[in-house]
Symmetry: C2
Subunit: 670 residues, 2 copies
C-alpha cells in the first residue's frame, strides 16, 4: 500500500477535474453492458472542479479492435451531471470512457464578458486572453495556428479601442477554435473504461419454438429425423417463430438409461433422455444416428434460413456413463473412494443416467479446451445460437472464459442460459456473457407478481445486461396455471410472454395443443413426457392454438414497440384480474396497449387508468385497434372500460392511433 | 488489455465462490467510510457458488498498522446475502474485506444426513467423509490433527455399524473442528479492501461556539485578547458548548484592508477582516500581536480543556497582499500579464483584501509542504480541530494529500469543511477526509425541506462518510427567517439544529442575543458586521437566549439519542407548520421525540401520528416529558395532540418513558 501521505505524482496533484458516478457501468466496469447494433448508449457522469472555473467533458468510445477513440462533447445536465450518447455500430466490444479538463478559454471568456458588462477595465483581461489564444495556437495544426495567432495579435493591439477588441474576443468562432485545441496537460480520465457488447438484433428480439426432433415423424413409433424436422419448418414459420431450438441431438447413453415417465429401469425399445449425452457412437460432437448425418443437419439449417429461422442447439455439459469422455478422460469426473462416479442431482431431481463433469479438475485446461472445441464444431456446422442447459451448475469462471473465447472469433453467437435458480446466480451468468436468460415468468401469475417482476427486469440496472426470455412452458415445466386453466390459460400466458418480453418461446407442439396433464398432483412434470419417449402429436386438433400463436407473432413482427422492453409501463386497473400495460417505440410512432384477463375461468371487467403522457396522448379521442380480435373502438381520456371473456379472447393487444397526428407526438421521448 | 479469451490462471479458474456488492463501500472502495471508535461496522455482501454446495464466508478486518487480520464468520441472511459486524477499536484506518470458499465438509455432512434419513447406503459417503477429515487434519495444528485423524479412522472402521458411524460423523464437535481448518486453496477474496476511518467521539457529537476573540474585551473599542477569551470560557461552558472556534488569529493585512461594512476604503483605526491573513508581523503561523502570544494561546487552550472545551482554529488558505509569502514565494500566486495579482472572488462576493493561492503552481510541492507545516505548527501548539475556510476553492487532490499527511501522525485531528457549494462538491470533500461539513440547513425552513434534506443526509450512503454540522447562523449568514422571525425564530432554529444534527454550532454572541439586522434588504450580511470591526456585545440583555441554549445543550449531553443521526425518523403531522421527529438509542434505552412549530409568529396546533414501532412503544400509555419546558403528560397510541405558542416555547423535546419497561423494548433494533 502506498502510504496515504506520500506526495502524489504531478498528474494526480494537478488534475483539477473529478469524474464520479459514470453510468451505465456494471460493478464498477468489471462487466459489460449489452446493446444491439444501432442502439444508443446514453452515458452520464458527475464532473466538477474546485472553484468557479468552467470545465469541458468528453465522452470517448471505440470498438475494441480500433486504435483511435471517437470523442463527443458531453452536455451539462445541471447539478454537475453531464451526458452524451454514442451509437453501437458493430458487433463486439466497444469501450467507452470520459475525460474532462478545466476550460481555461471558456472561463476567461465568461469573466471578460462579465467585466465588460460591469464596465470594468478589461485591458489586462485582453492580454490574458491573447496569451490563451496563443497557447491554443501552439496546440493547433498549422493553418488554424496561423489564424489563432492573428486573433491573439488583434486582442493585444492597443491601437484598437477596447470595446472592439472585446467584441472580437467574444466572437463565437474564436470560442469554437480554442475549444477544439484545449490544454489537456492535466486532464482527468475516468478510472476504468467500460465495455458495451454490441449484439445482433436477434439478441433483443426473438421468438423461440422448442421441439423434439425424434417426435417429428408422421409414422407412429418411428424415430424422427432432420428431414422430418425440415418438413415441419413451414408450419413453424407460419406460426411466426424465428428460432427453432432442438434438445440435444447427440447419441444417448445406454447405461442407466431412463424409461418412460422417468423410470430408472428402461424397457427394451425405450429411447432414453436426450440429455443423457454420449454412447458408443460418440459424445457431444456426434449426432444421434437415427436423426441423420451432419450433412442432414446442414440441410435443416439451410432450409430453416430460407424461412427466416435459425436452429439453436442445446449445450448440455454432462455425460451418460457410456460417453466416450468417461473412459478417455476419467480425470474429468469426480471418482469416489470405491471408484464409482456419483450421478447428477439437482435436488429433488435425480439424474441416474447422467454423470456431472468436474470443471475444477486438476486437468481443467484440457477439459475447458475440449468443451470449446465442441462449441466450435457446431459453429462450423452453421449453428449460431446455443441454449445452455443448467449453466448454474458449472463454475462462473468457466462460462466467462468460454463465452469470451467463442465471442472473440464469433461475436454473432448467442447463448441462452437455462438457469432456473437463485436471482443473484442468474444475474451473474448474464454479467459473464450469456445473451439471454430463462426467467421466473412461468410462476408469475397475478397482477402484483407480474408488475413486480417486470419492473425489476426493466427498470433496475438489470436492463443493461440481463435480457429475459419468457417461456410459459418447457419440457420440464407444466405450471399449475396451465394444468387447470384450460385453453384460455394457454392463450393468456402466450399473450403475456409474447408482449411483456421481446424474447419468448414455447415448447411445442405441447403448448399449442394445450397439453396439460401432469404426471402427479402437485408435480410440474408432464405425464408421458416427451423427454423419455417418442410422441406423435395430433397437430391438427381443432383446439390447436396454431393460428392464434401465428397471429400474436405477426403482431410482434409488425410492431417495433413489442421488440423492446425498455419502454414497458403498467397502467392501473380497478380489477386485479385485469393487467394493463403498454410499450412504445417513438422512432416508429408505435404504441401498443395490452389488457389481459388473468382469470382463465370467468369474464372480468373493469376500468383502466391510462398514463396518457407515456402514450403521447392528450384528451383528444383516439382509436384502439385490437390486433388479436381485429375490433376497433374509440377511446378518450385515461379512464376506459374493459370486459374480457376468457373463453372468447382473454386479451386485447391494442394498437393506438391518434386521429390527428403531429410531428410532436413523441417530442418528450427525445 | 489481456485478451478476454486468454486461459485464466489456476486460481481464477478454480475459485468457485463469487463475492459481489460488499457494503458499506464508497465508490468501489476508493474512499473511506467513517465511524467513531466503539461503533460497529455492519458489513454485508452477496456470495454464492455454482450448484448446490454450501459455502463459508468470512469477514476480515485489521487496523492498518496491524499485520494480522481478525476473521469473523459471516451469517447467511438469505437470498445469497451474508452479514457480520466488527467494532472499530482504535483511531485511524481499519481495513475490511471478505473471503469465501466452498464448505466441502459441511456440504458432505448435509448430504450424508439426507442419505441416512432416506435410508440409502452410506458406506461410500463415510469413506469420502473420512478423507475430508484427514485433509482437515493435515491443515490443523498437531493436537487437533491427532484428534481428527482418530475421528477419520472411526468413520472408516467397517467393524462399527454404519448408523453408529453416521452418528459420529454428524457430531457437532467434528463439524466445528473441520470448519476451523477449511481448504482455502481456491478461496475467493474481495477485490479491494475497504477502509473505515476510526474517529474520536467529538467527530460525531460536538457543540460549537464561534466567537471573534477581538470582541471579547469588556472595555468599549479595546481589542480583545486571548486572556479576555479565557475569561469568557465559564460562560461558554455553562451554555454547554465543547468546541470554541476562533476566526483567523493571524496578523491582518494593511494593503487593501477592508473598512466597516465591507467598505473597500478603510478608515484609520479600522481593524480589517481576520480572513485577510498576513502582514509584516507574519503569516499563517503568526499570531495577531494584539491577541497575545503563542504562550497566551496555550494558556487559553489549557483553560478550555479544564472546562471540557476544545479550541478550533480557522484554516483559511489565502493571503493579504502584504502576507510574507507574496514576496517570498511569488510563484505561489498567479501573476497577470501586467504583473498584478487578481484578488479573490466568490461571485457575487469580492475580496479585494485577499489574494488566492495557486495550488497547481509548478512549485506546488513546496507550497503544499508549507501549508502542511502551518497545520503542524498549530498542532504543536495544542490545536486538534480546524475549521477550514472555503475548501471548495482549493483542488481536491490537495485536500486528500493534506488530510492524509496530518492524519498519518495525528488521527485525532478533526477538519470541518466550510463548503457552502454544490452538493457533489461537498460530498467529494467529505470523501477526501473532512470530518464534518457545513450544510444547507440554514436555508431549509419548511417541513418538506427539512424532511427531504435530513432524509438524504441520514438515509442515503452519505451517512457512511458525510457528517453534517448544522449552523443556524454564521458571520456570513443571517437568514431571512432569523431577520424577520424574532426571538421565537432563533429558539426554533436552535432546537432544530441541536436535535436534528449531533454536530451543530452557533455564531455568538450574535445568536443568543438574537442579532437580526441585515445590511440591506435581501442581503444575508449583518449590518455593522463583526467581520470588519470590534464589537462590544450586551451579553446580559434580558432577551438573551443564553439560558435556553444551555438547557438545550444539557439535554443533548444527557441523551445519547441526540448524539447520533442514524436513528432519525420523521413522524407525520396534520399541520405542515409542525415538524415531528424522533431519535433513539437502543443501547441506552433512550428515546427523544421533538415537535417544533416552524411558524415563529402564530400558535400552531395539530395531531402527530407517531410510528410507535420505531419508538419501541405499544398501545400502553407512556409518559412524554418535555425537557425544555419541564412539563409532563401521558400519551397513548400513535395519535396525540400538540399545541405550540412560539412566544412561549416553539418546541417540545420529549423524553419518552414507558410505564413498564421490559428488557425486550428494543429487541428489534439488534
Amino acid at each position: 500500500m502506498t502510504p496515504p501521505s506520500a506526495i502524489p505524482d504531478d498528474q494526480t496533484a494537478r488534475a483539477r477535474v473529478v469524474i464520479e458516478g459514470l453510468t451505465p457501468s456494471i460493478d464498477g466496469g468489471r462487466f459489460k453492458i449489452t446493446r444491439v447494433v444501432g442502439d444508443a448508449v446514453a452515458v452520464e457522469l458527475d464532473a466538477f472542479a474546485e472553484g468557479q472555473d468552467l470545465i469541458a467533458v468528453e465522452l470517448r468510445y471505440r470498438h475494441a479492435t480500433d486504435t483511435d477513440w471517437t470523442c463527443l462533447p458531453m452536455r451539462d445536465l445541471g447539478n454537475d451531471r453531464w451526458g452524451a450518447a454514442f451509437t453501437v455500430e458493430r458487433l463486439g466490444a466497444h469501450q467507452y470512457t470520459a475525460h474532462a479538463w478545466v476550460d481555461q478559454f471558456g472561463t476567461w471568456r465568461q469573466g471578460l464578458s462579465r467585466n465588460a458588462e460591469a464596465g470594468n477595465d478589461v485591458m489586462v483581461d485582453l492580454l490574458i486572453g491573447a496569451a490563451l489564444v496563443r497557447a491554443a495556437a501552439a496546440r493547433a495544426p498549422k493553418s488554424t495556428a496561423k489564424q489563432l495567432a492573428a486573433w491573439a495579435t488583434e486582442l493585444e493591439d492597443t491601437t484598437t479601442p477596447a470595446p472592439d477588441r472585446v467584441t472580437r474576443a467574444l466572437d463565437e468562432e474564436l470560442g469554437v477554435l480554442c475549444a477544439a485545441h484545449p490544454d489537456l496537460t492535466h486532464a482527468t480520465t475516468w478510472a476504468r473504461p467500460c465495455v458495451c457488447w454490441g449484439e445482433r438484433d436477434r439478441a433483443q428480439f426473438s421468438s423461440w419454438y422448442e421441439l423434439f426432433p425424434r417426435s417429428t415423424s408422421t409414422v407412429p413409433g418411428q424415430h424422427g429425423t432432420f428431414a422430418d424436422v425440415t418438413a415441419r419448418l413451414d408450419e413453424i414459420a407460419q406460426m411466426g417463430f424465428d428460432v427453432l431450438y432442438l434438445p440435444p441431438i447427440h447419441p444417448i447413453g445406454r447405461v442407466a438409461r431412463k424409461g418412460r415417465n422417468n423410470s430408472t429401469t428402461a424397457q427394451p425399445g425405450d429411447v432414453g433422455s436426450p440429455w443423457a449425452i454420449g454412447a458408443a457412437e460418440g459424445g457431444h460432437d456426434a449426432i444421434h444416428p437415427e436423426l441423420g448425418t451432419l450433412d442432414d443437419l446442414r440441410g435443416l439449417i439451410d432450409a430453416a434460413v430460407d424461412r427466416g429461422i435459425e436452429i439453436a442447439l442445446d449445450l448440455a455439459l454432462q455425460c451418460a456413463p457410456d460417453h466416450p469422455w468417461v473412459t478417455e478422460h476419467p480425470q474429468w469426473f469426480r471418482a469416489r473412494p470405491d471408484g464409482s462416479i456419483q450421478y447428477a442431482e439437482n435436488p429433488p431431481k435425480r439424474y441416474q443416467d447422467i454423470y456431472p463433469i468436474d470443471f475444477t479438475t486438476d486437468d481443467w485446461p484440457a477439459l475447458w479446451e475440449a468443451v470449446a472445441r465442441v462449441v466450435e464444431h457446431w459453429i462450423d456446422a452453421g449453428i449460431r445460437i446455443f441454449r445452455v442447459d443448467n449453466p448454474h451448475t458449472k463454475p462462473f469462471a468457466f462460462w466467462e472464459w468460454l463465452i469470451a473465447r467463442i465471442h472473440a472469433a464469433h461475436p454473432e453467437v448467442l447463448f441462452l442460459a437455462e438457469a432456473f435458480t437463485r436471482p443473484k446466480v442468474m444475474r451473474r451468468l448474464a454479467k459473464l456473457g450469456f445473451t439471454q436468460s430463462y426467467t421466473y415468468f412461468a410462476w408469475r401469475n397475478t397482477r402484483d407478481e407480474l408488475y413486480g417482476y417486470l419492473t425489476e427486469l426493466t427498470q433496475s440496472d438489470l436492463r443493461d445486461y440481463f435480457r429475459p426470455n419468457f417461456w410459459p412452458n418447457t419440457p420440464d415445466i407444466l405450471t399449475g396455471y396451465l394444468q387447470t386453466g384450460g385453453r384460455p390459460a394457454f392463450m393468456a400466458r402466450l399473450v403475456l410472454a409474447a408482449t411483456l418480453s421481446s424474447n419468448y418461446g414455447i415448447y411445442g407442439p405441447a403448448f399449442e395443443l394445450c397439453e396439460h396433464t401432469a404426471i402427479a398432483p402437485g408435480s410440474e412434470e408432464y405425464l408421458n413426457s416427451e423427454k423419455y419417449e417418442i410422441k406423435l402429436w395430433n397437430r391438427d386438433a381443432d383446439w390447436s392454438l396454431r393460428d392464434f400463436v401465428g397471429r400474436v407473432n405477426r403482431i410482434r413482427h409488425t410492431h417495433p414497440a413489442l421488440q423492446r422492453n425498455d419502454t414497458l409501463i403498467f397502467h392501473p386497473t380497478d380489477n386485479p384480474q385485469l393487467l394493463c400495460y403498454s410499450k412504445t417505440d417513438p422512432r416508429h410512432d408505435d404504441r401498443i396497449v395490452c389488457v389481459v384477463n388473468l382469470d382463465p375461468t370467468f369474464t372480468q371487467s373493469g376500468w383502466t387508468e391510462l398514463h396518457l403522457d407515456a402514450l403521447a396522448l392528450d384528451n383528444q379521442p383516439f382509436q384502439v385497434h385490437d390486433l388479436v380480435g381485429d375490433t376497433r373502438a374509440e377511446w378518450r381520456g385515461s379512464r376506459n372500460f374493459i370486459q374480457l371473456d376468457p373463453h372468447v379472447l382473454p386479451a386485447h393487444v391494442f394498437a393506438i392511433r391518434r386521429h390527428v397526428r403531429t410531428e410532436h407526438d413523441f417530442d418528450y421521448f427525445s
